[in-house]
């Protein structure tokens, strides 16, 4: 048992360790100012990312990300459920959705700045406007795919309206909704950084650009590391939530695999 846990840990950590070692070795003798040795970057890290900076730059970024993401989740799941439930609404909305989805969200930043200003609300709207699409489209698909026998079962037992939504449609669409939420998370991080690069007075994206403009190259590199770590941490949290909410789904899949 302990041996298996150890083996798994080795398996998970092996590739990161190798990549760090390669980076370390390849950059150790570097004299290129834009490509500093990893040693220098790591030495700079604690000086740059102090508790003060975490509070003044990382926290605002994370809060904006969470606000935009939550907004996108609510709007995406609500609209997706409506569109997925009614064939006519779907036929009506589909062309517009396809168009809006095809517009790259970063291009909206200057437009959104015009009416939402350059404050927090602009950044939250930018993040939400990018995150909403995968959530919306996956919810539509998930709601459409609810099993016909389950729907008839619910109907015959008089389970309708809100109860039907809560106990049948949303749980059944859950796996698809979570797939959308996962895609949206990485889009959200990208848009968080981009929106802070355009117009901001704090945030991780803003900090990285500031360092680059003031030629503090090792400091800039540490910002990139922070973004990577933030993305990794969010993805771990996401996985924990997903495992919990969709425990039934993973169990069901494992049991059908066994019997197949």
């Amino acid at each position: 048992m302990i041996g298996r846990v150890l083996l798994r840990a080795v398996f998970v950590l092996a590739l990161p360790a190798v990549l760090i070692a390669v980076w370390w070795a390849a950059s150790s003798g570097s004299v290129n100012p834009y490509w500093p040795p990893l040693r220098t970057i790591l030495k700079t890290f604690p000086d740059v990312w102090t508790a003060d900076r975490l509070r003044s730059d990382v926290l605002p970024s994370v809060l904006r990300l969470l606000a935009g993401y939550a907004l996108a989740a609510v709007v995406g799941i609500a609209l997706g459920t409506v569109i997925g439930s009614y064939r006519r609404v779907r036929a009506f909305c589909e062309p517009v959705l396809e168009f809006l989805r095809a517009v790259p969200p970063p291009v909206l930043v200057p437009v959104i700045m015009l009416f939402a200003g350059i404050g927090n609300s602009m950044k939250i709207v930018v993040i939400a406007s990018g995150c909403v699409w995968p959530i919306l489209l996956n919810t539509v698909e998930g709601v459409r795919a609810v099993d016909s026998v389950m729907l008839e079962t619910a109907r015959s037992y008089g389970i309708t309206g809100a109860a039907r939504l809560r106990s049948l449609v949303l749980p059944s669409a859950g796996p698809q909704i979570f797939a959308g939420l996962r895609q949206a998370l990485s889009i959200g991080i990208i848009l968080m950084v981009i929106s802070e690069m355009f117009a901001a007075s704090n945030g991780i994206g803003f900090t990285v650009v500031q360092f680059q403009r003031s030629f503090a190259i090792p400091d800039m590199w540490t910002g990139i590391l922070v973004l990577g770590l933030l993305g990794f941490a969010l993805s771990v949290v996401f996985q924990l939530v997903e495992r919990r909410v969709l425990a039934w789904y993973h169990g069901l899949r494992a049991s059908t695999r066994r019997s197949a």
């Binding site: 079962t153 015959s156 037992y157 389970i159 109860a163 749980p171 059944s172 169990g251 069901l252």
Partner: protein, 273 residues
């Protein structure tokens, strides 16, 4: 006259993409309160269509269904359905007890009453221990028992069963047949049981309604005069059982031959000498 289920002139035509399929032509029969009636017919004869019309899930093209004297226009309370596809009828995100309890919540029963009904229903299908399991952790036969428990807990006036044992293995099937017989005798509920299996229909039913091939009419109605006390071993080898099943079998064969219908225009030439 005051039958619990009164089906008269039921007709269902499916129309779509230029094709017009008359699944059910003219069905008329009744189910009295407390009866166990089996409906048997050749495969593809619209048994599921019939059941969906009875359950208010499908609107018939013609004729009507009266349930306790009232025409069925949507799923009526007091009716519970057990589907063939147990795996797609139970909700995999709910535990067994939650699945059984779900319909009760919408009947406005108190929590303690719901608990009582769930425990009682699970006990009577022999699954008291499985309350906390997820359906997909159970075997197919056990899952179908859960679906039956869900229907029992609902305390329906009539239980509609759509080929409920078609997808389980033969031994499980025999157990489940005895379970249904037993529940019917203990609880006095009305059961309409649809099957394509002639032996099953004769073994279970007090009465067998034989359907013709599509477009479907009632070929024959037959009273099963076997003793109330039935068991897999003795009933199935009783001479009377053999006679009844042979009779039903011949009726179904006749129904298939009778399919050569000039109207449908798709009669098999081999059927015509």
């Amino acid at each position: 006259m005051d039958a619990l289920l009164d089906i008269s002139g039921l007709r269902k035509v499916y129309e779509g993409s230029g094709r017009r399929v008359e699944a059910v032509r003219d069905l008329t029969f009744t189910v009295e309160s407390g009866e166990l009636v089996c409906v048997v017919g050749p495969s593809g004869c619209g048994k599921t269509t019939l059941l969906k019309c009875l359950g208010g899930l499908l609107a018939p093209t013609g004729g009507q269904v009266l349930f306790a004297g009232k025409p069925v226009s949507g799923p009526p309370p007091g009716m519970a359905l057990v589907f063939q596809e147990y795996g797609r009828s139970l909700f995999p995100w709910m535990r067994v007890a939650e699945n059984v309890e779900l319909p009760l919540k919408h009947k406005g029963l108190s929590k303690s009453r719901r608990k009582e009904l769930v425990a009682d229903a699970l006990a009577s299908v022999g699954l008291a221990d499985a309350a906390g399991a997820y359906p997909w952790q159970l075997s197919g036969g056990m899952q179908q028992r859960v679906a039956i428990a869900r229907a029992l807990a609902y305390e329906p006036d009539v239980l509609l069963m759509d080929e409920p044992f078609a997808a389980v293995d033969a031994q499980t099937r025999a157990d489940l047949e005895d379970l249904v017989r037993g529940l019917w005798r203990e609880r006095g509920i009305t059961i309409l049981f649809v099957t394509h299996d002639i032996d099953e229909a004769v073994y279970l039913g007090e009465r067998v309604v034989v359907l013709s091939a599509s477009p479907t009419v009632v070929q024959e109605q037959l009273k099963v005069d076997l003793p109330d006390e039935r068991d897999q071993l003795n009933t199935r080898v009783a001479p009377r059982f053999a006679e009844l099943r042979t009779h039903v079998y011949e009726q179904i064969q006749a129904a298939k031959r009778g399919k050569a219908d000039p109207e449908s225009g798709k009669a098999d030439p081999a059927d015509r000498p």
